[in-house]
């Protein structure tokens, strides 16, 4: 256990009666200020409780498997000033907010006021989360619950309350600022706060040279790389690292899927043993009754194909984008070899050999260079691509079109040669969880043996849009409001294939 859980009572330190009895009956029965004695003992117990929590955290920090992501502070004083309410930088609109500058009172550099939202700056270093806020430790007139009464935006360092705390029963202090103006202050207590003290980096991440924002995904990445280093490169470490980078869990224990359920934020894949939670944007790929084994990914977010065992017939990889790391020097950009059947073009017979081509995408000059080199190598080796594809049992001269397959799959042709040492990782960006994301995929190089390569495909699922084609200009679709009555409509739901080699470290 890393933190003291926010439950009450949490052991003897939370039982005032028991604590009060410790000094003996004189102090609890006869002493006139026995409430002070009790408060004092409770207070000392509370400080010890924090020390105990810290001790547990440090104990857990001994292991990379259990190191806490954040430090937990049981009670932390916070001060809210009415002079800062909705007026500080914490209330400034930010890029990415769903707002339009210049409209509805939204101006650049001007704090934003929203009805029913009361924003205060809270700049405690590393503060990530607050469980509850009260105006007292043992008794409170004001008790606010995270998610119900407030949220804390750690990035903006903004405490956003859903009701004006200065209109609550909590009594503010009044002090006077330098100009003699009264300032109302509410001294409140934040309960069970989580503070990022960079513990993952400071204790384990630095050893590996891996630095990301503290999160459970970051801890998983550390463990995956550490496991690979200590126990040797493995398929499990590679997949775990990719999953951690994308912030989705892999199956930890063997089990049977009992239920698949969705709420507003998540999918839950429930086995007889564990509940695995995924972003709501993901698509489960398992059904109740399916058997899961460790390392499985039961959603569409991540799929890994290790081609060493052969290229699966039903592989869902749109193709290979090969750059000069795979093709050598001389190319300006990468070439794409699609995973689909394409016609084999018979160019003709050049000298004593036939020349054939198939569809390769890329810059025209690069495509031409590639085919030139293929042809030169074939002639030099005495066996051209046409010879390789020749279906005749007995070969007599260069093949003619009828001796060759009509269609080929470019992906399979180029992937077959490298399959023994190639791993394909397919990801759907729209389904990522709280991991560092695609920018962390360079870490895969850390767990790969150098003779093996990993090609990553990141699918950028586009938002479905409805388009209408007007009868007056059927070749120029008009989007959005104001379009004429549709003759037909279609949805655009495409993905952008992005494949690249894990860059160097």
């Amino acid at each position: 256990m890393a933190n003291v859980a926010p439950v009450f009572p949490n052991g003897d330190l939370d039982r005032p009666q028991l604590l009060a009895a410790l000094p003996g009956s004189f102090w609890t029965e006869l002493f006139s200020d026995k409430d002070i004695t009790r408060a004092l003992l409770s207070g000392l117990a509370l400080t010890y409780q924090q020390a105990y929590s810290n001790f547990l955290e440090d104990f857990a920090t001994l292991s990379r498997k259990t190191v806490p992501v954040w430090h937990r502070q049981l009670w932390m004083p916070i001060v809210l000033r009415d002079s800062e309410m909705n007026r500080s930088d914490a209330s400034l609109p930010r890029y990415g907010d769903a707002i339009t500058y210049g409209q509805a009172g939204v101006y650049y550099g001007v704090p934003l006021t929203r009805e029913g939202l009361f924003v205060f700056p809270l700049e405690t270093a590393g503060l990530q989360r607050i469980t509850a806020i009260t105006d007292g430790i043992t008794s409170a007139k004001l008790a606010l619950v995270n998610g119900v009464d407030f949220v804390f935006d750690a990035e903006a360092k903004a405490l956003q309350l859903f009701a004006n705390p200065f209109e609550s029963e909590a009594v503010p202090d009044v002090r006077y600022d330098a100009e003699g103006l009264p300032v109302r202050e509410l001294k409140l207590w934040a309960y069970c706060t989580d503070i990022d003290d960079d513990r993952l980096w400071r204790n384990f991440g630095y050893v590996l040279g891996l630095r990301f924002k503290s999160s459970t995904s970051y801890r998983r990445m550390i463990n995956a790389v550490w496991d690979s280093h200590a126990a040797g490169a493995s398929y499990a470490a590679l997949k775990e690292l990719a999953a951690a980078a994308t912030g989705i869990p892999l199956v930890a224990r063997r089990g049977t899927v009992e239920l698949i359920a969705r709420d507003t934020r998540s999918w839950h894949v429930v086995t007889d043993d564990v509940v695995y939670t995924y972003p709501a944007t993901a698509t489960p790929t398992v059904s109740p009754g399916d058997q899961l084994v460790p390392g499985d990914c039961p959603v569409s977010t991540l799929h890994v194909d290790d081609l060493a065992g052969g290229i699966p017939d039903d592989i869902e990889f749109p193709g290979l984008l090969l750059d000069r790391g795979f093709l050598g020097d001389g190319y300006q950009s990468a070439l794409f070899f699609a995973n689909k059947q394409v016609p084999l073009e018979y160019v003709g017979i050049d000298g004593a050999s036939a020349d054939v081509r198939f569809e390769v995408s890329g810059l025209a000059a690069d495509v031409e260079l590639w085919w030139e080199r293929v042809r030169e190598r074939g002639i030099d080796a005495g066996r051209t691509l046409a010879d390789v594809l020749d279906t005749r049992q007995v070969r007599n001269g260069p093949p003619l079109p009828q001796h060759l397959p009509q269609q080929v799959n470019p992906f399979r042709i180029v992937a077959e040669l490298m399959a023994s040492n190639l791993v394909l990782v397919s990801l759907r960006a729209g389904e990522f969880g709280d991991g560092p994301g695609a920018t962390a995929l360079w870490t895969l190089r850390k767990v790969l043996p150098p003779h093996v390569a990993c090609v990553t495909l990141i699918r950028l699922d586009a938002r479905a849009e409805r388009a209408t084609l007007t009868d007056s200009a059927s070749d120029s679709p008009a989007f959005g409001a104001g379009a004429e009555v549709a003759d037909e409509s279609f949805s655009v739901e495409e993905f952008m294939p992005v494949a690249y080699v894990v860059p160097d470290i």
Binding site: I36, R38, A39, L40, S42, G43, L44, L46, T47, Y48, A51, F55, D58, T61, P77, I137, T138, S139, W201, R202, Y206, V207, L208, W226, S228, H229, A230, A231, G232, A233, L322, R324, G325, L327, G328, D329, W370, V374, R377, A381, T384, L385, V388, I413, L417, M418, S420, N421, L422, R445, L448, P449, P450, H451, V452, A453, C454, V502, D504, I505
Partner: protein, 551 residues
């Protein structure tokens, strides 16, 4: 020990105050009329003292926590406790590399062949006085073979010019790379020897290593936790460094790296994986080894002679640095007119041979062979025969040591993973020269030019693979680490590099800001495979006092 602290004065006042406030709040809530404001009896005697001791405990817990992390423990290196650092390192199977003294042999030249005894405290100090060496044992120079009865007896032989000489073994008095003097470095003996004429280093001194610094240790921790096996990149490097402690840097080029050209031998010219090139730097600068080698006359009219090197002579050699007549004390070299590399991948019993298909692809591997042709302008070839006449020469060859041993090691059937093909290559060299003008203020004294030179060479030779450039600012910073604020480096710095490409050609790189490695992936040349080498002789420093008008 840094994990202990019972000094209350060092506690963070704000943290103590925060602890105090929690306890005071509880008392206030228990009895709102109770005065717990600062200065009251209960606040001062009970609340504050409790807060103080609580914070003391928290403080010590934090110290304990930081003592488990080398990063945190060394954030203030001046106060970092070496014992704590070593304890943390032990958890990662890393031991601080001990300092080691440089060693070598000194040639003592005498005017007469006389018995020359010297005690085990005999010293030799370089002419500039920067490094001193002590003989490894007591020695005695003897004049006849019959007198040689132990390893301490060294035969005095005749030398050109009517002189005589013998050789003794020495070790640097102070550990560190500063003792790695080059061949020919001259020494002064103390006490002075009878009939003494000269003393100089027989060849480059080696093995001098300073104690490992904390930043170096931090960089090595990842290797410590890794399995010593041919597995992922870190594990493989860890295996190599465990077995070759002198190995300074390793770069593994594999599948998908543009520098990997060995796996593109198929119809499509695409990489297929399974092969790894291991670029190594086994020392700061290439080792220059001196030897006597026989050359064959190849052109009487042009006075050309050829040195043929097998793959086992100077494995992976960079170049022939000099060719001189045998036993000549001259400096310089005959002109090398060509250097042709070939490949010998014939079987070595019990050893896996990597697949290398071109001569250029074999450059700087232990499988390269070389034919080096030079013009001997001194030897009369009139009576000699091309292809038959041979003659011995003194040669100096630069290499990365241990290349063949490293290849044998990774190719061993005990380590090589099935289906993989590892070729060890010496780092592709970029020989750097650096010209500096350093101004200093007279009132603070003249900076030690040798210290500047040592620091600059150490800095450049410590640049790791993958660092994209040798920046002038790095050199300027290094100079300032010696001279402080009492001077400055005049810009531009004259920084030049000669990149010795596989295949034999040389590319010159020069810039006033930084040396950037050009990329020739078809030759395996990139920042991941090239190492900058800077020898002390290639650092010229022009020290000038700041004149009044410059201030």
């Amino acid at each position: 020990m840094t994990t202990q602290n019972i000094d209350l004065a060092t506690l963070d006042e704000a943290a103590v105050q925060a602890q105090s406030e929690i306890l005071a709040q509880l008392l206030r809530e228990a009895r709102p009329t109770l005065d717990v404001s600062p200065g009251t009896v209960i606040r001062q005697l009970v609340v504050n003292s409790s807060a103080l001791f609580t914070e003391l405990n928290e403080n010590n817990l934090a110290r304990l926590r930081s003592a488990n992390s080398l990063l945190t423990a060394t954030e203030t290196p001046d106060t970092a406790d070496a014992s704590v650092v070593d304890q943390i390192l032990s958890n990662h199977l890393v031991t601080r590399r001990a300092a080691k003294s440089s060693a070598g042999r000194v040639v003592i030249v005498l005017s007469q062949a006389i018995t020359t005894p010297m005690s085990s405290s005999q010293k030799f100090t370089s002419l500039d006085g920067t490094v001193s060496f002590t003989v490894t044992d007591s020695f005695i120079g003897v004049t006849s073979v019959e007198s040689v009865s132990s390893t301490g007896d060294r035969l005095i032989t005749s030398r050109p010019g009517g002189l005589f000489g013998f050789v003794v073994d020495v070790v640097a008095d102070v550990p560190g790379a500063a003792g790695d003097v080059r061949r020919g470095t001259r020494f002064v003996p103390a006490p002075r020897l009878a009939a003494f004429v000269d003393a100089y280093a027989e060849s480059d001194f080696t093995q001098g290593v300073g104690q490992e610094s904390t930043p170096e240790l931090l960089a090595r921790m990842e290797l410590g936790i890794a399995a010593k096996a041919v597995s992922d990149r870190v594990s493989t490097v860890s295996l190599l460094q465990q077995n070759f402690p002198a190995l300074q840097d390793v770069s593994l080029i594999g599948f998908g790296d543009s520098e990997m050209f060995r796996d593109r031998t198929n119809l499509f010219g695409e990489s297929t994986g399974g092969k790894v090139d291991v670029y190594v730097r086994t020392r700061g600068t290439p080792l220059v080894t001196h030897a006597v080698k026989s050359a064959v006359l190849v052109s009487k009219s042009l006075k050309l002679w050829r040195l043929n090197f097998t793959r086992d002579e100077f494995p992976g050699m960079y170049r022939v640095e000099s060719v001189l007549p045998k036993d000549s004390l001259a400096v310089g070299s005959f002109e090398v007119v060509s250097d042709t590399r070939s490949l010998d991948t014939s079987a070595i019993p019990g050893e896996f041979i990597p697949r290398i298909v071109s001569a250029a692809g074999g450059n700087y591997t232990r499988y390269q062979t070389a034919a080096v042709t030079f013009r001997d302008t001194l030897t009369d070839t009139t009576e000699l025969f091309e292809g038959l006449s041979r003659q011995d020469y003194d040669i100096a060859v630069s290499t990365m040591p241990d290349l063949a041993e490293l290849q044998t090691f990774v190719a061993s059937r005990d380590r090589r993973a099935p289906g993989t093909d590892y070729a060890v290559r010496a780092a592709i060299p970029c020989f750097v020269s650096c010209g500096l003008v350093v101004y200093y203020r007279r009132e603070y004294g003249v900076p030690d030019v040798e210290v500047i030179r040592d620091r600059v060479t150490d800095t450049v030779n410590a640049i790791k693979f993958s660092e994209p450039r040798l920046s002038v600012s790095l050199i300027v910073n290094t100079v300032h680490s010696v001279i402080g604020q009492n001077g400055y480096v005049d810009l531009p710095v004259d920084l030049r590099g000669a990149l010795l490409l596989p295949g034999g050609s040389t590319v010159a790189v020069a810039d006033t800001d930084a040396l950037v490695i050009p990329e020739y992936p078809e030759l395996g040349v990139s920042r991941r495979t090239v190492a900058f080498f800077l020898s002390r002789e290639q650092v010229s420093i022009d020290l000038r006092p700041v004149t009044q008008w410059q201030t």
